[in-house]
Symmetry: C2
Subunit: 319 residues, 2 copies
């Protein structure tokens, strides 16, 4: 089977790094291009981190484009150094590659790839949705060219992680998110409802640290700070697999078992619910009934825990 081409949009970022290496290790897909966006860290530094991780895995042919530095409606808030470190990768110094990013922007790259792979391109977006919104504004026809858009973002029936109801990726650029969920393409939203239930334990990190692969050992180092942060959430050193879960669902290793297509609106007011994904789950009561005309599938349950699947794939990866 020919690997499916993927445009990957990220703000690398610790769990982004895990998701990136997972995608590098996945034979089901090929990374046609990667765009970066400001979120966990600024878009320029996210590109450096992405290029360094690609180089460490020997994937120097994957083009990386720097995307939007600022959200659509205002300046970038500056990232979250207490979670992802001052450099986005847990303050670990990766070996730096000499390779730089492309001349095109991330949005331009997405538009180009959508036209180069009509009906085939999978978009996996694990940061704020600024680049995707800009690409839709550059060329609305990409909505009909792209095969599917898988987004890590939002919170349907659980609290947010940045505000009462706001999840970081959506909250960082609600205007962009609203453009993305209302465009006429198929979106799979992977919210906190499921990402918080899929975790990596200290034993998983230790297994990566003991790997022969420099990439895996780098991931183990990078995860150290992230594990500290999650003590306040889970009560012990471990982490949620936010971004890797979206990647694994897009790749097909993890299957969404409860994921109704429902109307989704992003709150882009300046009110207390700003950045919230309002997923209309009325009347579902534990089931999954697609709502006529809805184009966003909200993932509420999956077939198996991602942790072991992710670890195995990383350990199997020769890169």
């Amino acid at each position: 089977m020919t690997p499916r081409p993927v445009y990957f949009d990220c703000d690398t970022g610790i769990d982004d790094a895990l998701a990136l290496v997972y995608l590098m290790a996945s034979p089901e897909i090929t990374l046609a291009g990667i765009g970066t966006v400001s979120g966990n860290i600024d878009a320029a530094r996210a590109a450096v981190n992405t290029l360094d991780l690609l180089a460490l895995g020997g994937l120097d042919e994957v083009p990386v484009a720097v995307g939007a530095m600022d959200p659509l409606a205002g300046p970038f808030s500056g990232g979250v150094p207490h979670i992802h470190g001052h450099n986005g990768v847990g303050d670990v110094e990766l070996p730096h590659t000499a390779r730089g990013p492309e001349q095109e922007s991330a949005a331009e790259m997405l538009v180009r790839l959508a036209h180069e792979h009509p009906g085939e391109l999978d978009v996996i977006a694990i940061g704020p949705l600024t680049n995707l919104a800009l690409a839709l504004q550059l060329d609305p026809s990409i909505a009909t060219l792209v095969r599917k858009v898988t987004v890590m973002g939002g919170a349907a029936l659980v609290p947010g992680n940045v505000s009462v109801a706001g999840e970081a990726n959506i909250w960082n650029d609600p205007e962009a998110a609203q453009i993305v969920v209302s465009a006429p393409w198929q979106v799979v939203l992977v919210p906190l409802d499921v990402t918080l239930e899929n975790t990596f334990e200290e034993a998983d990190r230790t297994a990566l640290a003991a790997s022969a692969s420099p990439l895996n050992r780098a991931l183990a180092d990078i995860l150290d700070l992230y594990f500290d942060f999650y003590v306040h959430e889970y009560g012990r050193r471990m982490c949620a697999l936010h971004d890797p879960l979206a990647a694994a669902i897009a790749v097909g290793q993890i299957t969404a078992t409860r994921a109704p297509k429902v109307p989704v609106v992003v709150d882009d007011t300046q009110g207390p619910g700003r950045g919230q994904t309002l997923c209309d789950l009325r009347g579902q009561r534990g089931g999954a009934r697609d709502v006529e005309g809805a184009n966003v599938r909200v993932v509420l349950d999956t077939d198996q825990p991602l942790g072991p699947v992710l670890l195995q794939r990383l350990l199997d990866y020769a890169g």
Copy 2:
């Protein structure tokens, strides 16, 4: 033990009728006064229904005051005849009492009762919170005089019932709700999270219909239309016990087992989340940790199903 004085605010309403008769039947409390508000039906009709039910139970000494016809920010939307009937009590014609409502408004009654029973008055509010907000505006000191305010309203981690995230009582007057949750009194919020889990079945209705009490037989008739409406929610004829659950928690027959005090903000923007209760449940993960300075207790679990408790109390009531 002296029964605790209660000011009861309602928009009678089918489940309001159940809650009212439950309170009439409860020796733990005494109905010091009842105010009506527009919600399920307009405030004037709600007063007629309330007076008729009181009369049927022989409680003609309980004063009833007509409250706000319109929410704080605009005209009353007109009620929900497909749920509560055109008259609010399932289109059942109750025997009409000659007694009329008081001259004072519901807000004036609440202010008066708060001063007459300093530190002792329990407020149970099962409709839009317009009267409570007006009373706070009339006399902010009632916040320190009232013992506790138990509100049926909101949705914390479940969908709304009027909009994606909006529950009917709060959605009907978000401006009033925001005033009530931010006043310096103790609020117990009983949201859809728990009310939808407490139900009355057709067997319960049949038991009421077979009762010697005309009041119980009237309730059985009134519930008929309401049971029809809930087929779309539960898949069979039954109903949620929204208002009775708030009443039973206030009375003390049902105990909230998971009910953290957390910051609560009502979305009173004109955005897609209008009418939502944003309950800050971040970091709780199934637990119940009170947040310093919060004054709203959000009920997320209770000790036992209300259905059998409610039925027994109604059947035991000689009224």
